[in-house]
Every structure is written in C-alpha cells, then in structure tokens.
Symmetry: C2
Subunit: 328 residues, 2 copies
C-alpha cells in the first residue's frame, strides 16, 4: 500500500492528468490556474456542483473506490440531464485523509474517468488537499444547451401528465440491504452505481417535449413538490402507477407501507421526473423506447395547489417524512 | 443562537438566494438543477475551483466568519486573475457541522457576497449538506477571456523580466502572528483578507503585456518553479529586489534567514507573478501606477534550466523546504 505523501500533491495531479483522454473544445486543461474551454455557438453554459462527504453521503465499508468514483460524477451529470443539457467538462476536488492509499485513489479516479468516458465528458481541473476527517469529494460539471431547449422546474401546466423514467425505490432498498449486510444484487447496484439519464434528458430537450423537469435525488414527493412550487400548480399522483422493479416488488410484497416510504421518499433514484402535455405522451413513449429506458405516467398536474395521492386502496400511505406529511 | 436544523436546507438556501444581487448574463440562477449563464461572444470559459477545509486551510479561532467568507471567494478569484480573465459567476458548496449557528453562516455568506460585490461576480448555485467533522467550503468560479488575451504559465522566454505585484511574506508573517496570539494589524489582515489582483490581471491581459503569469499561493519559489517547468526555462531571482512591506521589514530586522523563508516559501500571498519582455517594463509600471498597486522586477528568465538566487550577501538563504532545497 503506497502513501500519498511519497507521491506528493503535484505527483498525484500528474498521475491523474496522464490518465485523462483528450477531449474536444479544451484550450487549457489540467495544470494551469484555470481551465479554458469553448462552448457551442448559441448555447448557454450550464453549471452544477455537488459535494459528497464520507459518513454523510457514502460509507467506505459499503462501496469500493471505483464505484464511488463513478457515482461522484453520476450524481452531477444527473443535474445537467435534468436541464436537458449536454455535460462537457468537469472539475474534481478532493480532501484526502491520510488513511487512503494511492491504490484506493487510483481506483477512485479510474472510476470517475470511466463514468466520464461513458458520457463523453472530460476532466479539466480541480483541487487536492489533505483532510483531517473523512474523504470529501466535490465535483462541478459544466455543460451547455440552447436557451430554447433548456427545461426548468417552473414550466408545469394544468393538464400536463407527470412522467418518471426507470423504476423508483430501488436505491433506497439497496441502502437498506447494505445496512443489513447484503453486498450485491440489483438494488444494491442501483444505490451504489446509478445511471444518470443524460441521453434521455437530451433527447427530451431536443424534441421540446417536457414543460418541466428535474432529477429525483431527495425522493419522489419532495422533488415533485419542487416542480409544483416553482410552477405554482398542484398535482394528483397515482400510487398504483409508480413504476417498481421486479426486485423491489419481490422484496416488499408483505410490507406495502414500508415500500411506499421507500419509493415515495427514499431518494437517490436519479431518475428524471418531468411533465408534458397529454398530446406529447406517444412521442415520450417512443423516445424512451428507442433509448431502451422504461418511462411511466404517474399522475397529472392540477390548477389548484397541493398534492393529492390517489390509490385504489385509499390514502393509507402516510409517511413520517416532512415532504409527505405536508399532504397527510 | 439559532440552529440550522430549524431553518432546514431549503430555508437556508432561500435565505442566501434572497441576499444575492441580480447579475447580468444569468438566464437561470439559484434554485434549479443547474445554473444557465451567457458568456461574451468570442470568449473562452475559464473555470477554477478551490476547497477550504477547517483545520487545514483555516482555524475558526483565528478568523471571523465574515472575513472567512471573503477569503473563500478571493482565493478563487485570484486563479481567474492569474489567467488574465474576468470572473463572472460562482458556485458555493458548504458542508456544515452542527456547531455552526445560523448567525455564523449569515455572516459567512455576507462576507462572500461582499467580496462578490467588490469584483462584480454573482452567486449562481451550489450545494449544502451536513458535515460530521469540520466546516468544508468549495467554491468554483466561472470567468471568461478572449483566447488571444489568456495568459498561461508556459509562455516565459529567455530575457523576460520577472515581475511581482504588491509585497511578499506579509501573509506568512500574519499567520505566524496569529499563532502567537496577535489578532490584528497589517500582516494579519493580509493573511485573513487577501485582495485578489483581478483588475491588475485583466489590465495586463488587455494590453497583452505578460508572457506567463500565475498567482502566488504556494510561495514565490514553488510557484516560480511552475512557470519555469511549464515554460522549459530557468531564472535568476534577485533576493534584494523582492518587495517587502514596512511592517514585514520592521518585524524581521534581526532574523534575515527566517524572513527569507517567509517571503520565499511562505505562500498565500495571492500576488501576481508574471514575466514580460524588457521592452514592456515601462508599460507594466504605468499600468500598475494607474491602478495604485506596487509592482517590482525581481529577476530574469534564462535559457538554461534551474533557478539561481542572487543576493548582495551571497547564497545564504537555504530553506528547509523542498522548493528551495532544490536549488540549495
């Protein structure tokens, strides 16, 4: 096990820089005071940043460094996807405690660069320093999109349908399983290695199908509330229509109330939640079919504010969480 | 003393967003998944990020939150200044330990927004989360500059003069004083509340005077080495020409060796170190005179690699630090 101290800060930066595949549009990459990049003519610059803190966002006993690297970038790419944007570049800052070996950090950077490669984004800079507590990761993603294609949280209109990509609750179930000592499987993978819906967001934006969009990081209810607040509308959510994976259903067949908490408030799904007028429904379906990602209609936007949750079994799913209590 | 818990994450974000003065060029600011901003036609996007960790970069017993806020942005603005760029927007991430009150955080954000106001940059987004250890701050600044005006580290040419803005060593002296219980004064202020040389960097770039430039954060020797490495050249540094403040000279009149360590390797000066051909010397002087910042010639670039340090007293200033030992 090699120590970072032997490599030094600049040795470590060089080690990362040597692994970065050349990207397009980069006038100045790693190694100067700032990076200098181009953007497509007529596009706005999209920027988003997320911090991941050991003990708050991740537990090193649950995840290998490669997968942690992938997730560190994925959660940031997901924010650009939620605007319908194209992510292009990213900055990576790390505060590194002495306990982490060079091998760990190599695997971590291999993971983040593998995710970057999957979505054609390039590392252009960052910062490294020592940490007296846990491992701290901060990623900033820079993307772009034409102003007329950018999808905000504020455009939902009464009559719009509410769509969600993929399935919900898997990540929260995966975290629960990890805490119970389960190390692998579908749900655990969904928690540790989420897929940002960049392709889906870009395709939706290109066809101007959604009226509002975000990615589900805090949980369906809490994030839907953001759309409702920003758009000054209300909604009905059809509990029976929320898409669940076979793994999720099999795990929870006897505890429906607990299940509802996981898929309504569990968070970290990193699926796209968006609204679109009913006439766009078929276009949304065929767009997702082409990409190979499931998509579902889970409710409708109303003029009156507030959120009602409809279910064939009535309103029995009252969560203890704030987002959900609000409508209890 | 109010607790952040009572305010909540979104309440805290709203509290900051309400204090942000509207900036130009911002299509989408705080409150969506990503910010969307314009940039001037023909400019490249400049991005730089720095993390500040409690116990590594700052000590809460040394600094008030307002000044810490100012410095958190200043060190990032300094990186954009070092490229000759115009900073325009910034993202702020904070991992906040429970010990910090809402009042502390209000003062911190007031400080960072005051620095933003000083240099006409606007907060457009960020991330907030809890920290189980210390306070962690991560700032990303987005700026711009025309490609023909951007100043890199790699353009120094044999025969160029080496310039430095302001005075060196004050920050390191200030830190030493703080550690000895001194709470104020010129040197302490230089350490806690540095001024990023944005105006100076922009003016130099506009007139295309420098061949290479960076800001001194690690210390004069260490940062000059970056220019020499990137430009594949060597240099002679004139120890007698290094600009020192009256405060610095008064504090160190009897300990010249210790003094040299502070101004050669002390770091955190956030002054501009740049090279320019001798025929630009007068233009550099008049440009700095107009702004009201001192500037000095402290050496010359050589064709042969390596750094020699000339002094009327010979080569007596051998530091224990790596950057300096290298040439001992």
């Amino acid at each position: 096990m090699s120590k970072l101290k032997e490599l030094g800060e600049f040795g470590f930066i060089d080690r990362i820089a040597n692994k970065v595949a050349p990207g397009t549009g980069i006038a100045i990459g790693i190694g100067d005071d700032a990076a200098a990049t181009t953007q497509s003519l007529g596009s706005l610059t999209l920027t988003s940043t997320d911090m991941l803190i050991e003990g708050v966002h991740f537990d090193l006993s649950f995840c290998d460094p490669f997968t942690l690297g992938r997730k560190s970038l994925a959660v940031n790419l997901s924010d650009i996807a939620a605007m319908g944007g194209r992510p292009r570049y990213f900055l990576l800052s790390m505060a590194i405690p002495e306990k982490l070996s060079v091998e760990f950090l190599d695997e971590f950077t291999n993971g983040i660069l593998a995710m970057a490669d999957d979505f054609d984004v390039t590392l252009i800079g960052g910062d490294t320093c020592s940490s007296k507590a846990g491992f701290v990761i901060s990623v900033t993603v820079i993307g772009e999109q034409r102003p007329d294609r950018i999808v905000r949280r504020s455009g939902a209109k009464p009559g719009d349908l509410i769509f969600v990509s993929g399935t919900l609750g898997d990540s929260a179930l995966g975290l629960e399983l990890l805490r119970n000592g389960v190390k692998q499987g579908f749900a655990v993978a969904r928690h540790l290695d989420p897929t940002p819906r960049v392709r889906e967001g870009l395709a939706l934006a290109a066809d101007k199908l959604p009226t509002s969009m975000l990615d589900i990081s805090d949980g369906l209810i809490s994030d839907l509330e953001h759309i409702l607040d920003c758009s000054s509308v209300g909604a009905r959510l059809d509990l029976d229509c929320i898409p669940l994976s076979a793994t999720f259903i099999a795990s929870h067949k006897n505890t429906l109330k607990k299940s509802a908490e996981l898929f309504l408030s569990g968070g970290e799904d990193y699926e796209l939640l968006f609204t679109a007028p009913p006439e766009n429904r078929q276009c949304v379906y065929s767009l997702f079919k082409k990409i190979g990602t499931p998509v579902s209609v889970i409710g409708e936007i109303y003029m009156s504010t507030g959120l009602t949750i409809a279910s064939s079994k009535g309103f029995e799913y009252i969560s203890a969480k704030k987002g959900f209590n609000h409508f209890g």
